[in-house]
Amino acid sequence: MIPELGQFAIALALIAACVQSVLPMLGAARGNLVWMRAGTATSVVQALLIAFAFGVLMRSYIVSDFTVLNVVQNSNSLKPMIYKIAGTWGNHEGSLLLWVLILALFGAAVALFGGNIPNGLKARTLSVQAWISVGFLSFMIFTSNPFERVFPPPMDGNDLNPLLQDIGLAIHPPLLYIGYVGFSIVFSFAVAALIEGRVDPAWARWVRPWTLAAWVALTGGIALGSWWAYYELGWGGWWFWDPVENVSFMPWLLGTALLHSAIVTEKRDTFKSWTILLAILTFSLSLLGTFIVRSGLLTSVHAFAVDPERGLYILGLLGLSIGGSLTLFAVRAPAMEGGGLFAPISREAGLLINNLLLATATATVLFGTLYPLFLEAMTNEKISVGPPFFNASFIPVTLPLIIVMAIGPFLSWKRADLAGVLSRMKLLLALVVLATLAVWYFTTGGPVLAVVSMGIAFWLIGATAMEWARRVKLFKADAWSRIRRQPRASHGMTLAHIGIGVVMMGVIGSSAWKEEVVAFAEPGTQVQVAGFDLTFEGISEERGPNYLAQVATIKVERAGAQITTLYPERRTYPVARSTTTESDIRQTLAGDLYLSIAEPAAEGSEGKWVLRALYEPLVNFLWIGSALLVCGGLLSLSDRRLRVGAPRKTRAPVAATPAE
């Protein structure tokens, strides 16, 4: 009975969404305030209904209700409780329900907290948001009902893919979805603005916090996914340029561009059509991600159970939403330009370069991701595009971006004095060159590009810190009170930019100076990696709640002194009939010693194990940098200016100290 209530709630939510997609829009056109306000009520009702349905599905998982097909296919009564709960979104139907839940929550959040948004814009935005809702709710009801029953119910379920039974991956999808789907509200704002035919600095100011919130969540989601891949897959890699990783990375890149171009729209009343286009494209890329993961269009390690019919349905939704919004853009946007002029060297120009480079990077990733499909369509040849392509095309775009990124915050609006800025940075440049030479001296092997990139990372971190110190006059009296008076958004920027530099150091260290040894090990085998002496002492059997584990004991010594003992595992899940690797890692700031074991496939090697030992320098900088990015975003989000309304129709005054 209870699962049917969930299904019923979804149907009711669809009705609410239908009402919301028409009534507020009409109200805004006719100036009918009551109709406009109806959007607020329906948004909240919709969110409550979908949240109820989600709760119902989660309950089915918690009590292991094996009359529900979805639970049978993805759960098992022996599974630990936390993974029973996470199983709710570890499959196509459940994750789709989470998708629409977040969509509805963002709509409700705008309805409830967007009090300072003019009625017309708000009503239209909520209507557009409801169009997306209608599309995905009907998709769920007609092709992917999560509450489908089975009769007779089986004794037990098939268990969740053991790879997904992991704390990192339990949190990763919700965060990623908040990011992905969060851009929907920015999209709705953009389409509403196109319908209204008006974009002004106030519009940009309302849009920015939502963009920022989605961006923060997406950053966290991607970082978590990467972290999971690092310790769970047993290869020691954290990014594989897999199509599904790429489709989460593209909205991030374009969302970052949007974040910056919205600043220009807000402060200088220009870049309007560009900002709108970015808002549309960022969400379009999120939709593309949803499509690729669920349609089986490309091969990927992530794909859900696929079904061409579902693919067609989502493609139809994509065509309608992206095609529709871009048509509207093509018709309405040309009338929107105007606003502040700026010199070729100015903060606007800097942000323009930022946007162009980020857009190029996005296009590169998009091209690489879809190229196998293009080629197959044209020549019927099958290839896969891997890291070599992405490294060769992505790095040349990002390095200039980072160099410019260091200088950008020094430039003033309208017209800037680049020569003056650069002359102030002379000392910094000298320090950076020295530090780079030191890196070159202390590292052995690895490409020259790695050393140069490391220098660029130092440059970014140094320049960002210097700009902050100058802005708050760190070395003069009362620095603390100036730090407190400065808008939090500007501290957020500093933190996030430093975060990028730190992530970059992690990327370089762990890819250029990684050391790897793979050996057949039996008790007593000794292996050397990066100055560590490893001794494989043996394997013992252990029992977990729903798995059996073979645990290796490996003694780690350096220069004769015992450092630690590591216990990488191989887990076998009898119900799901698969095995997972549980690596064991000795984490230090300088680098990780990473051990994983596997059973050798070759015959005649009984009793031997494949021991993979890696040393990954600076890899933890990735997670630290990501945390800095998220903190920077959150700090900026807590800025008072983003919460209180902007004065309408007036150009935002150019601050004496540039804030962003």
């Binding site: 059509s273 286009l277 549309i280 494209l281 379009s284 499509f291 349609s295 089986g296 269009l297 490309l298 091969t299 061409p308 693919g311 067609l312 493609l315 994509l318 065509g319 992206i322 095609g323 871009l326 048509t327 853009f329 093509a330 946007a333 040309p334 879809l370 196998p372 499909l373 293009f374 197959e376 369509a377 099958k382």
Partner: protein, 183 residues
């Protein structure tokens, strides 16, 4: 001119949409890798029979001397999809009147014998590829796989995966098309 520029994103998206639509067509499997051996003669091999099974062994010369289309099926007793395709493959060989050869891949002799005893033996000849060496020569990526061989021993088609459902449809279509070239 400038107005046209604003239609550019739409044009790109329309193009992408067309490619995606093509990509969703029925029967396209992005994971399938085309065999490198299509239109090449079958690799040289000579395999003995499975111990305890009456069917004779299987070698390249058996394919070379043939004057009609034939099928080569890679199977193993440990492979669950093989069990699923077995009755369908048996019926196909009977209905089409086409010789069916077996490549018993990395299988223990007694297990393979018991499997054939239980499910029936539609194969004219079976080669026992215990080490998997011949499977590698044939470019086998997984079990089961089914090849269509031309008279004289040229490999014409490969179906990776079990010939049930869509796989069966593809195999039958390929056979029907090839029948026109090799009556």
């Amino acid at each position: 001119m400038r107005r046209i520029l604003f239609f550019l994103p739409l044009a790109i998206v329309a193009f992408l949409g067309g490619v995606f639509l093509w990509g969703l067509q029925d029967g396209r499997d992005p994971g399938s890798i085309p065999s490198a051996l299509i239109n090449k003669p079958a690799p040289a091999f000579e395999l003995s029979a499975i111990d305890g099974v009456g069917t004779p062994g299987f070698a390249q010369s058996d394919l070379a001397s043939l004057e009609e289309l034939s099928l080569v099926n890679v199977f193993a007793s440990w492979c669950a999809p093989c069990r699923a395709e077995h009755p369908l493959l048996t019926r196909l060989a009977e209905e089409e009147g086409i010789p069916l050869f077996g490549l018993n891949y990395k299988d223990k002799a007694d297990a393979a014998a018991a499997w054939l005893e239980e499910l029936g033996n539609p194969y004219q000849r079976i080669g026992h590829d215990l080490s998997g060496r011949v499977g590698i020569e044939w470019g086998v990526t997984g079990v089961p796989e089914t090849f269509i061989i031309a008279p004289g021993g040229t490999i014409l088609y490969r179906e990776a995966g079990p010939v049930v459902g869509d796989g069966m449809k593809r195999l039958q279509k390929a056979l029907a098309d090839l029948r026109e070239d090799y009556p």
